[in-house]
Amino acid sequence: MPVPNDRVYSESHEWHKLEGDTLTLGLTQFAVDQLTDVTFAEMREPGTTVEPGDVVGEVESVKTTSDIYCAVAGEIVEVNSKLGEDPGVLNSDPFGEGWLLKLKVTDKSGLDTCVDAATYEKNHQH
């Protein structure tokens, strides 16, 4: 699957998509392929304030448990409710329906530590 170029990527395999001052966070296809089937995903509650590099949730697969990090500062405003009903959505559509959470960004400078799609793809070829 191609890596979408409308967002940027952290070293810990989260994608960050900024629209206005709202940031949507998710995991890359590469990351979910490494995790294998996701069995559980839980993000911090809406209202939680986040600093760059904070853990904002956990994702569990049949193989391992992984922390989810966010590169920017802000406040969580929404968590994807589909994750609770069917965590497998992360495997089937990580760049779309399987998004993790949305933040209202207060400081986006952390995005500078992320890379663009082409660089991410080059670094993490299958």
Binding site: D33, T39, K63, T65, N91
Partner: protein
């Protein structure tokens, strides 16, 4: 790194390969671990287990050597019988768990864990030399392949090519000649399902798979068997309560604490043709002290999280043990774990909890296995 003789099969089926015990092996296929798991429980799966060590013991003293190495008696095994046993160290810890195949009076095959193969080969030779026993020890791992075909519908498939194999009892095997190829087919496995494990020459596996999978489209929803990887093998064996070296078994873990005392014949040395096995003295001492301090239990937990090896197990506020293996059981839908706990907390029905990091999972001790295949009508 060793490559499996089935590597082109894995590539053809889009496997994600990982390193495991010095081998490049399939972790999973594109359908995913959960799909593979359910496929094995509901129909059938084929696993490459070529990384497992296969060692032939042949000679006048082959049986006596195995009596010394194995915790289980060997002398009463019949030709065509396979038996699960432990190999212990002098301290009563577990060097490995193995399957012993009796080929004939003076010939045996041992199937051992990949991670322990080289360690065991050295151990086998040392014990042979110390006893001045006449027995050749031949590591056949690299020139053979091994597959496990497991699931409730596997025997239906096999009955198309053999009338003998579906009539084999559990833990029995037969040696079949397929054209010029010799296959060892045993009714054994590591998933809790019915099925077989097959050992055959490495250069014949391609042909054998073609024959077996001839009319099967593994992409069809209702395919009788589909490839399954190491990840599904692990969740399946965990549900079946089967121990794994490095988790429930280890050099530092007393063999009497592993919940598999059926595989330890403490009175073997007193029997007419029996012989003391390595580790017996230490285990007798353990027994004399009232048993091992810790014991393996099953835990059934609440929620949808996954307990993992190393997570602490609590009775109230007191830590009483650790998880050795765990997962969110794909078949049962709740978290399960095997754990080594202080003996006094081992009986079924005890309320315990597992600290998985930021939260504790509540639950209780349950008998193993967690899952048992329904008897076929």
């Amino acid at each position: 790194m060793h490559k499996s003789p089935l590597r082109s099969f894995h590539a053809d089926h889009g496997a994600q390969m990982v390193e495991y015990a010095g081998w490049e092996m399939p972790l999973r296929y594109p359908a995913g671990v959960l799909a593979e798991h359910h496929q094995v429980r509901n129909s059938g799966g084929i696993f490459d287990v070529s990384h497992m060590g296969r060692v032939e013991f042949k000679g006048r003293h082959a049986r006596r050597l195995l009596e010394r190495l194995c915790t289980r008696r060997v002398y009463d095994m019949q030709e065509g019988q396979a038996r699960y046993s432990l190999v212990c160290n002098e301290q009563g810890g577990v060097k490995d768990d193995v399957l012993v195949y009796r080929m004939d009076d003076d010939k045996f095959m041992l199937v051992v864990n990949a991670a322990n193969r080289e360690k065991l080969l050295k151990h086998f030779e040392e014990v042979r030399a110390a006893g001045d026993l006449s027995c050749s020890i031949d590591d056949q791992t690299l020139k053979t392949a091994m597959v496990a075909i497991q699931g409730p519908k596997v025997m239906d498939l096999i009955s198309r090519v053999s009338s003998e194999i579906p009539n084999l009892k559990r833990y029995r095997f037969t040696v079949k000649n397929l054209m010029i190829v010799k296959l060892i087919v045993s009714r054994t496995g590591y998933t809790g399902e019915d099925g077989v494990e097959v050992i055959l020459p490495a250069n014949a596996i391609g042909m054998a798979l073609k024959l077996l999978m001839k009319d099967i489209d593994p992409n069809a929803d209702d395919a009788l068997i589909k490839p399954a990887g190491l990840a599904a093998r692990d969740s399946l064996r965990t549900e079946a309560g089967m121990p794994l070296y490095g988790h429930e078994l280890g050099e530092e873990i007393n063999a009497l604490s592993c919940g598999i005392n059926f595989a330890i014949n403490m009175d073997k040395a007193d029997e007419e043709r029996g012989e003391a096995f390595i580790g017996l003295e230490a285990l007798q001492k353990t027994q004399g002290e009232g048993g091992s301090a810790r014991t393996l239990v099953g835990l059934k937990l609440d929620g949808k999280r996954s307990p993992r090896q190393g997570h602490a197990v609590y009775a109230g506020d007191q830590q009483i043990g650790e998880v050795t293996s765990g997962c969110l059981s794909p078949t049962l839908g709740y978290p399960i774990a095997m754990a080594m706990v202080a003996r006094e907390h081992a009986e079924p029905g005890r309320t315990l909890s597992v600290d998985i990091g930021r939260v504790r999972l509540e639950g209780e001790t349950v008998p193993l296995p967690f899952y048992k295949a329904p008897k076929k009508s």
